[in-house]
């Protein structure tokens, strides 16, 4: 029986709901990833040395590197749940728009990264004695846009490498070089919020981030269908 198909937006919302519910069920995992990211922050501090001035100056870099590393885990996980009992194949058999699957997953992964960032930032603030010179709310745009920059293409590369045995190795290898623009822009804009932005450069960096997100989310949405088909 061919029922009327719901619109794309409703499907995307349904996918997000499903992905976040699955992730919520594995809440120990999310907490573990947060702890992992925090551990990385500690490692950076030990590697660089206890000079608070240096740590404070480069804090944004450490935070984003920690988030990047943790993101490879959330991304591989988001596809492991799809392949372990054939859920993705089942999804493809339903009359669900493939783009809904991509955008739903990418948005869910973005949300997860934002949550991770919200766990990591306060810890970084304590460790590196940070304060938000431009106001706390201004941290949100770089965090959200930066998370989107990692999650968007990341979801596609995770799908690409889902059936490769060495996914843990391949995903970082594919992801890291191509998110350099997002990393640079996210770190810069976060830094400016933390340390002050006397020359008003932040908007340019946020535009870079937003453009990156736009380009790569569109490209991923276009190519996702090809990637998941057998």
């Amino acid at each position: 029986m061919i029922a009327a198909r719901p619109g794309l937006v409703r499907q995307i919302v349904a996918v997000i709901h499903k992905d976040l519910l699955v992730e919520w069920r594995g809440q120990a995992r999310l907490l573990a990833m947060g702890t992992y990211a925090v551990t990385l922050l500690l490692l950076f501090s030990f590697a660089v040395g206890p000079d608070t001035k240096t740590l404070q100056q480069h804090a944004a870099g450490y935070v984003w590197l920690a988030l990047l590393s943790a993101s490879t885990m959330t991304l591989t996980q988001s596809f492991r749940v799809e392949t372990e009992a054939g859920a993705l194949e089942a999804l493809l058999m339903l009359p669900v728009d493939h783009r809904a699957i991509y955008f739903g997953k990418a948005l869910a992964n973005t949300a997860l990264l934002v949550v991770l960032a919200c766990l990591v930032m306060p810890v970084a603030a304590i460790l590196f004695d940070l304060s938000a010179a431009e106001g706390l709310y201004w941290l949100l745009p770089p965090i959200v846009l930066g998370a989107a920059g990692l999650a968007g293409p990341g979801t596609l590369y995770a799908a690409l490498t889902a059936r490769v045995a060495a996914q843990q190795l391949m995903l970082p290898l594919l992801l890291f070089p191509l998110i350099v623009p997002a990393l640079v822009a996210a770190v810069k804009s976060t830094s400016l919020v933390l340390q002050g932005d006397p020359m008003g450069q932040m908007s340019s960096w946020l535009i870079v981030l937003a453009s990156f997100d736009l380009i790569f989310w569109s490209l991923s949405g276009l190519l996702f269908a090809k990637v998941v088909e057998e």
Binding site: M1, I2, A3, A4, R5, P6, R10, Q11, A14, V15, H17, K18, L21, V22, R25, G26, V81, E84, A85, G86, A87, E89, A90, L91, L92, M93, L94, P95, V96, A100, E230
Partner: protein, 229 residues
């Protein structure tokens, strides 16, 4: 004249150098119940997956309700549901949550409870991860019923079930048939399934070697494999 439920023409599918299916010419009328019998590795699952449009034919063609499986996969999937050995669910969610998530994706807000009751899973609220093989099979059936397919493809429907479960499967096949669906099942249980089906085919090493009335499939099997099911 409406196209038949399934029509294949010189269908072949290979994996590398091995032909898993070859020279398959099959026609299944709407509302018919067909049994596909064959030994392990004979190509039964491959045939079902091609009909589900998950695998493209290597040569020849296959049409489901008139739609080509290679070029009109979307149209095929709207009308077909496949039951395989993987349940197609999220291990961390319960049966109810899995069904509800997929219902929501289909834009339907009917409750999954009735479906779960029908397959005997209504008392479970824990994650699928802890389910036995039999329970997973029942959940797969619930998912299939949820889709209300025009063509139901069942790959070893009796697998992992106990005699109670066998009766459930028989009942579900009858229900699907009554609702007007075409049912194609691949099964080792040639006697039980053969009694249920209008027609049967025997597949051996990817090729169809016998076609006839369902209840006679067991005899064809014996003839091909010298007894011993």
């Amino acid at each position: 004249m409406e196209p038949p439920a399934v029509e294949t023409s010189a269908l072949g599918r290979r994996y590398g150098r091995r032909w898993a299916l070859a020279r398959v010419n099959l026609q299944v009328a709407r509302g018919e119940r067909l049994l596909i019998a064959g030994a392990n590795g004979s190509g039964k699952s491959t045939l079902l997956r091609v009909l589900a449009s998950l695998l493209a034919p290597s040569i020849g063609s296959a049409r489901v309700f008139g739609h080509d499986v290679a070029t009109e996969a979307g149209a095929v999937r709207e009308r077909v549901a496949l039951l395989t050995y993987t349940p197609g669910v999220y291990e961390d969610l319960s049966a109810r949550e899995n069904l509800r998530a997929q219902l929501r994706l289909l834009g339907r807000d009917d409750a999954p409870e009735a479906l779960l009751e029908r397959v005997g899973l209504e008392l479970r609220d824990d994650p699928v991860r802890g389910y036995s093989a039999g329970m997973r099979k029942r959940l797969s059936f619930a998912r299939l019923l949820m889709q209300r397919p025009g063509l139901a493809l069942l790959d070893e429907p009796y697998g992992q079930l106990d005699p109670e479960g066998f009766k459930m499967v028989d009942g579900l096949v009858a229900e699907l048939s009554q609702a007007g669906a075409t049912v194609i099942m691949a099964s080792h249980m040639v006697e039980r399934a053969g009694a249920l089906c209008d027609r049967g085919v025997l597949i051996d090493q990817g090729q169809v070697r016998w076609e006839g009335p369902g209840p006679q499939t067991a005899r064809a099997w014996d003839a091909a494999h010298g007894g011993g099911r």
